[in-house]
Subunit: 169 residues, 2 copies
DNA sequence: CTTGGAAAGTCAACAAGGCTGACATAAACC
DNA sequence: GGTTTATGTCAGCCTTGTTGACTTTCCAAG
């Protein structure tokens, strides 16, 4: 690990860019993502919800009062797909859809108590795994982890991520 | 960026384990995985293959001559799901299925020239993205990236990943 | 005030890719 | 010979993605 010289110069130590290293990174993403979604999937199975419901709940919790169009662009699916999921969540009393005050065409989405409870259960599980991984890998590794993930995103995705990131805290 | 002291000590700075930090990690995984699969998805769309075909091709390339059962456990799907995909790939002449010599019940899977060509096209695209991300983040970040991903995996998944990892190079 | 267009919702149809269950075959193993 | 293992296949189901067509609501520009 004599890589301390990693300035923005360019080609000084490209060992870590071998196809072999890249392939390991690709496979690490594949297996890690499976683990990453495993806990919520387990909780949701049987209660007849899937990953799509989880994602909707996560981002509604994240940005309470968000509009359907907004959610659409964050999730990157069609409104028909999202609508099916939202209809179900609203019918089951997990999400409330409020007509906009300024623009009454818009629907502002918020979690109900019941919805927030499920969100907590799901994100507790996911955070527990993330916390364990962070602890095992250490602070420096965590920083690198996030740097690489951000660098992997397309500019448009990165912008959305950044916007969300700043909105927190 | 004053994190140079990240030794294997343990509990020295737990600031990075706030729910806020964990949530950022979770969302980074979500957006990055979307970007990660975007290039292969784009290539495959229209030629009527999907992510499932990509995964099969990747791991057959990775472990030429692997058996169906083996592939099943790496991919984590049912044999009916995998079979549908494999039948298609064999019919289209991308994969060859050879009866085992020692154990004639087994089928050994290998890519044909055509299959290898598609594999190259797909992995070139995926590697290019990974290379750009690695370059942007630097060697230290790459190490952290892989450490966190590995720590996130369940022991069983990690074992599979490790086995594959060693098999390379 | 009327009309164009944006935002939202709905219906219908379809496909990929997961899943379960049941069953068939061949080969290996005991 | 009976059991287990590896594979394949049929049928049917679900979730979650897609497109296309259409309606309703409502803001805003003409």
């Amino acid at each position: 690990m004599a890589e301390g010289t990693g300035g923005p110069g360019g080609g000084e130590s490209l060992l870590f860019l071998t196809d072999e290293q890249l392939r390991k990174g690709i496979e690490a993403m594949f297996f890690a993502y499976r683990a990453f979604t495993a806990d919520p999937d387990r909780i949701l199975e049987g209660m007849d919800y899937g990953r799509a419901h989880h994602r909707a709940i996560h981002f509604i919790h994240r940005s309470p009062g968000t509009t359907v169009t907004n959610l659409l662009s964050v999730l990157g699916v069609t409104k028909q797909s999202l609508n099916r999921v939202l209809r179900r969540l609203i019918k089951d009393g997990l999400v409330e859809s409020r007509v906009g005050r300024q623009d009454k065409r818009e629907r502002h989405l918020v979690l109900t108590g019941k919805g927030a409870a499920l969100e907590r259960e799901l994100s507790d599980a996911q955070r527990a795994r993330m916390r364990a991984a962070y602890r095992a890998a250490g602070p420096a590794a965590v920083q690198g982890f996030r740097q690489v993930l951000e660098a992997m995103m397309d500019p448009q995705l990165r912008r959305q991520y950044q916007t969300l990131k700043e909105a927190g805290s």
